[in-house]
Amino acid sequence: MSGPRRAAPGGRARVLLGLLLALLMLLPFVVNPYLLSVLTLILYLAYVGQAWNVMMGFAGQLSLGHSLYVGLGAYVSAALFVHYGVPPALGFLAAILVALVFGAAIGFLAFRFGVSGVYFALLTIAFAEFTRIGFDHFDWVGGSGGFFLKVAQRDYNDLVNLRGSPEMFYYLLLAMTAGCFLLCHRLMQSRIGFYWLAIREDQEAAQAVGIDVFRYKMLAVMLSAALASLAGVFTAFFNNNLFPFQIFGIEKSIEIILGPIIGGLGTLFGPILGAFVLTVLAEGLRGTMEALGVVLPGVKQVFYGICLLFVIMFLPHGIWPSLRRRLGLDSDGRR
């Protein structure tokens, strides 16, 4: 009896995910350009939130400087494109490599010398900050004056050079988000995922049962960094301009972590749900205020604060775990 009962929620989850993916694929045909830009924003936050979730949600390593990897990915791919004509379809490999090096450096410094908890979080902020300051003075990529990519109006979508319509960028991001989701799902079903959970729950106990804690924490940091750098590649070619204070700023790092925290830390669907809830509520709130003729700048930030308070007080594990129970999808407790 227990076998079929356990399989049913998984099957239902797959059906729901399939429906969601189909819906997301069809949406660009029916929504207007504004809604498409909002959907792109949701997918971006979902993707980058998922990347952060690997490190914090799965392996329990709090990073408050994840904008570092996004920024590095953005600058490396953009610089290769502008200075050497390397298309982002190849440039993303270099972006990943550089993010891996930085991730490895942070991980090595922290884990080899026993820096953990809030001190590890401070280390991640420090790296993001000094990289920002470094890029402020890095004239090769425009320094503080900004780095601009040449914008070309084309009649066709060029996926190799990431030049094309907003629809192309939407589908690219959808593919990235779906890919990241599947990768995380596979990882969580694998030995690596179980090791990460063990480390997250009790590092000493994990070490005591023979898990190479240093190795698996390094793996989480580096994988998370690599995934985040891809979001940077997207940002660079979508916005076509980069400023160190905007891309490496602490605000960006906070923006990255809000989705997974609200949605459900350490869950697969939490970052996606969190990004959706936060963006839709913020846009809805703004639209309602506009319709009522109320002009109150900053109301969204206040609203974010209230949301966080609400989640911390009433849904400490985020929205998704409780929603998952209501939907009857609670098969293994980690989806």
Binding site: G145, G146, F148, Q153, T235, N240, N241
Partner: protein, 423 residues
């Protein structure tokens, strides 16, 4: 053709030859009066979408710009612009990703023209949307030169680029020395080492030899914007023996610096900024009192002698009686001018069509303006080229225009009196 039409008409239920003929006449009548739709279109309101950072780190500046937008419709009507402006303002929260989304929303809601955004990154993002949708975009404030170097057809900027700002500021220094008859031979260059300060320092470094400045920089001293104590930096500057301090600052550090100079009795011929905030701001005067006097800043500024500027000042005081104009005039001036340029283009284009508006904007020539400079005009890239800087000297606890001569409120004083001989 006729038989086919008749067959089609016969096939449709409820469509007789009479109703078909009636419909055809009605269609012809509609087609006949179609040209009048153009006339009606001219009377329609121009939907202006304004995108500003009204929350987040740049909230003050965004809200300050908004004041310039708010006073525009009534004042433009009073000035004789016979156009209806329907303004919708949105906040992009100092977030580039949102700037793009907000622009999409405004265009989707029917905006005929976009104005904003007090930020180069956001301007870059909005410009792409504007270009894609064929909606003219008038940049009020954003200095990155690359924005108008992209070959855009719908992007216009009524603000100097960063190199233009520094170039104007340095050139004005030469005029300032000429006007006062006193030229320092040496200077110490002190600058804050944040994003803005570094960019300015690079600009100074690049332009200084090219502009053949009459003084030599003996030493360059950079300092942290969050510094609590600048005693070492000021001591170094004093020890350099420089006759003048050239300063690129923010507000807090400029206050600290002057205090320290007073304390260390460092009395150069003057403190001159080639273009940075700080020394002309309200807090500088209230905190330093008489020691704020005679500091000089070269920035784009409103022309207090211009008739339009006086009208803008009057409208501002009436609509925002609790705000001091001097703290907002930079943002208000450029934002109001953006509205004026757009209204002027619409009046000439007589259409809300994006291409017609863009062509009218390209042909802009407005002689009477708020800010100091020549007639408002755009080059082939959409960049305004005639915006000048003013030399502001702090006098009687207010920044006063001392140069150029056509906007002069007071005569420049240089070398400045010693710290104890002020006020």
């Amino acid at each position: 053709m006729t038989s086919t039409s008749n067959k089609s008409a016969r096939r449709l239920p409820g469509v007789t030859r009479r109703t078909f003929t009636g419909s055809a006449i009605a269609a012809a009548a509609v087609a006949g009066v179609a040209p009048f739709n153009i006339v009606r279109g001219q009377a329609a309101a121009l939907k202006v979408g304004v995108i500003l950072p009204k929350s987040g780190p740049q909230a003050f500046f965004g809200q300050s710009c908004q004041r310039g937008i708010d006073i525009a419709p009534a004042l433009l009507a009073e000035m004789g612009y016979n156009v209806k402006l329907d303004v919708t303002s949105v906040d992009f929260e100092t977030n580039v990703d949102l700037a793009r989304s907000r622009a999409e929303k405004l265009v989707n809601d029917g905006a005929h023209v976009l104005i904003g955004p007090f930020d180069s990154g956001a301007a870059g993002a909005i410009a792409q949307v504007a270009e894609q949708k064929g909606v003219p975009f008038m940049i009020n404030i954003a200095a990155a030169p690359q924005i108008t170097e992209q070959g855009y057809k719908y992007v216009f900027r009524n603000f100097p680029t960063a190199p233009m700002l520094i170039g104007n500021g340095l050139s004005l220094m030469k005029e300032f020395f000429k006007a006062t008859g006193a030229t320092p031979k040496t200077a110490v260059f002190m600058h804050v080492n944040d994003t803005f300060g570094q960019a300015s320092a690079r600009g100074v470094e690049a332009l200084f030899p090219r502009l053949e400045m009459p003084f030599k920089i003996l030493e360059t001293i950079s300092y942290d914007p969050a510094a609590r104590d600048l005693s070492v930096e000021v001591a170094k500057a004093k020890a350099s023996g420089a006759e003048m301090v050239m300063l690129v600052s923010r507000l807090n550090d400029s206050i600290l610096l002057v205090r320290e100079m007073v304390k260390q009795r460092f009395e150069p011929m003057g403190i001159i900024s080639p273009g940075s905030p700080g020394m002309y701001e309200e807090q500088f005067f209230t905190t330093l009192g008489k020691f704020s006097e005679y500091c000089v800043t070269n920035v784009p500024w409103y022309n207090p002698k211009s008739e339009i500027a006086q009208k803008v000042a009057g409208a501002f005081r009436k609509q925002f009686p609790n705000d001091r104009l001097i703290g907002h005039i930079f943002n208000v001036g450029f934002s109001f001018e953006s509205m004026m340029i757009v209204a002027d283009a619409y009046q000439r284009a007589k259409s809300t069509n994006g291409q017609a508006l863009a062509e009218a904007l390209r042909a802009t020539k407005i002689d009477k303006r708020v800010m100091i400079g020549g007639a408002i005009q755009f080059n082939e890239k959409g960049q305004a080229t005639t915006i000048a800087s003013a030399a502001l000297q702090n006098r009687n606890l207010e920044p006063k225009v001392v140069l150029p001569a056509e906007a002069q409120e007071l005569k420049p004083v240089f070398p400045v009196p010693g710290w104890n001989n002020r006020g």
